[in-house]
Amino acid sequence: MQRVGVFVCWCGSNIAATVDVEKVAEVLAKEPGVVFSTNYQYMCSQAGQEMIQESIAKYNLTGVVICSCSPRMHENTFRKTCEKAGLNPYMVEIANIREQCSWIHKDKETATEKAVILGRAAIAKVHLNAPLTSGTSPVKKRALVIGGGIAGIQTALDIADAGFDVDIVEKEPTIGGKMTQIDKTFPTLDCAACILTPKMVDAAQNEKIHIYSYSEVSSVKGFVGNFKVTIKKKARYVDETKCTGCGLCTEKCPQKKVPNAFNLGLDNRRAIYIPFAQAVPKVATIDADYCTMLKSGKCGVCSKVCTAGAIDYTQKDAFIEQEYGAIVVATGFNPIKLDQYDEFAYSQSPDVVTSLEFERLMNAAGPTGGTLLRPSDGQHPHTIVFVQCVGSRCDDSKGKPYCSKICCMYTAKHAMLCREKYPDTDVYVFYIDVRTPGKNFDEFYRRAVEEYGVHYVKGMVGKVVPENGKLKVQASDLIGNQQLHIDADMVVLAAAIEPDKSARPLATMLTASMDTNDFFTEAHPKLRPVESPTAGIFLSGACQGPKDIPETVAQASAAAAKVIGLLNKDHLVCNPCTAQPDELMCNGCSSCEKVCPYGAITYVDKEFRGPNRTTLLRRVAQVNPAVCQGCGACTVACPSGAMDLKGFSNKQIMAEVDAICR
């Protein structure tokens, strides 16, 4: 029997307001084996931790039960506390009486009763705990960054800077991501390309960085420190090592009618293409959906004009296997499709555009060479209406429930740039709220209103009617209490942003959790914002939530710092809660081996002492504790019950069941 100490935390009033903490401590004191029981305002505070340590010494405790917040919160804190007092950290059990008791119940009597039962279960379990020691596993000193936008580039550069190898996997033919499509950045109005392209070149030239462009991650196995990743290098039908990026093929290709994805379909490109002049790697790619050679075997012009002999129509997808210690997800975002909001006539008029399309129409490298012209007739627009929050902040049935965060600022930027370049335009911005939390952000927005004369209207557009070359905009002006009817030339929609579609299958491969909007979940929303709850998986940029560029870069560097911290270690301390077979009972049947996702189980033939001084040779299971992650699948697959899980043993769980049901 253990000598158990029980520590009931008030968590200020978080627990104490609904749970009679004194009574809990009092009742639990009578449980078998409990030699000390107390309550305190904040167990996790310095004073609280010291109290636990003193009690361990004073009462010679061999087990500690803490009734407090969720073990996901402070289990580690209290384990360390006890370890410092000389107790094995795995002799600590937490009863979750905050998240799973005080916060969900209102009646004090009920909550107190439940807290006692949860405490009893923890005491019952701790009696069966055994001291555990962690093993270690080696760390592969290489990082993988998935996504080559500004987030991925920044993370990779920082990791490489610390001296570690890092690979970037980018699904497009070039790295750079969304930022390459942006014209100017807020609130400084400096040119996006001017600050991004040098970084792209840095990444390409850095010896520690390897870029897999036009590639995707196709499978991930392993665990922190030891991931095994298969990268699919999609066939681009051009030999990257030979292509010089001269671009001759992209001029000669006879297939001219391919919608140019880089310009969001606002103009056309050839079937063989380099997305834009500063692409990295600057290598041509053949679009197999449009190439007549690949489709019908007739043409071959690019191959004829290529002096480097880089064209290879027979290229196949290639698969590369690589090992990594850490993986950074930087899959970014996309504007949503606007089919659902056709009151704005997006699919009925080419002059209704998204903000990202508007970026291209303003960009010197865009389809109009930087002169703002209407897509329908190439005329200069005189009245432009911006609509905010299209698909953001919606009821779940109507769109995205979250604020897309960047739209207020880029719309202010667009409005300001329009007025600056074309003072003869009338610019209206319809807003619900203007959200400008950020350094120099509100000042920027005020400048748009005060200096540039942008009409900010609190209200929303209800209907856009394309007619006779105009867009008749019907909107509300809530402050003026009137309905506005504006004949506009262009309407620009601030479409909500959503995580890239590749994120969901990737999350499944990585076993990293996601929220209901498909943004990756962070390990802790405040204290661990760049880590996924899955060890060794880090989050960079908008894959975790909507972000502007400075925030993305900050988070990218933070993720890099976490990766560097991990790769700096030679060994990782393993989870000691691993599976362990009782060899005397093992049948050697291989059931456990079949369900182990990590291949941690092997078999050996071992001699055992039999009756009458005989020896018996038996096949028995062995678990590699450095590889075992402690899921417990094997323990249930085992017919004889020989396999058990340390820290969550059959007896421990049943003791908890008994304590709860008694």
Partner: protein, 146 residues
Amino acid sequence: MPVNEEFKPTIVAFCCNWCSYAGADLSGTNRLQYPANVKIIRIPCSCRLNPMFVLRAFQRGADGVILCGCHPGDCHYTTGNYYARRRMTLLFSMLDFLGIERERTRVEWVSAAEGAKFAATMNDFSATIHKLGPNRRLEDLRCRKD
């Protein structure tokens, strides 16, 4: 049989550490209420749930047992919940075959982000068990020969 005026069912909820236990925490963080007779036992993965634990809970007087784990495809250990899904399907089927009310057992997939779903699930399950009343059949299967 004495009428138990205030039947307070005992419900054991086994929650995987990565999704559902976190989902339960989230429903606490959001102050979403569910009945106090639901008690959660943390297991590393839904695949750790040995059918014996379910039977043990019933043996010791539980009126309902529910397993919550990551959504299929999202298991922290990649495949654990797929095994759990088969095991529980067959276990529940066997209990049903023995004539035990099939509503007493349930599996729900609750992600770490689904605090509201967790609370709603527990409310619903608890209401179901409340309607069923105390777990008599499993008790009667004890067929005391007295």
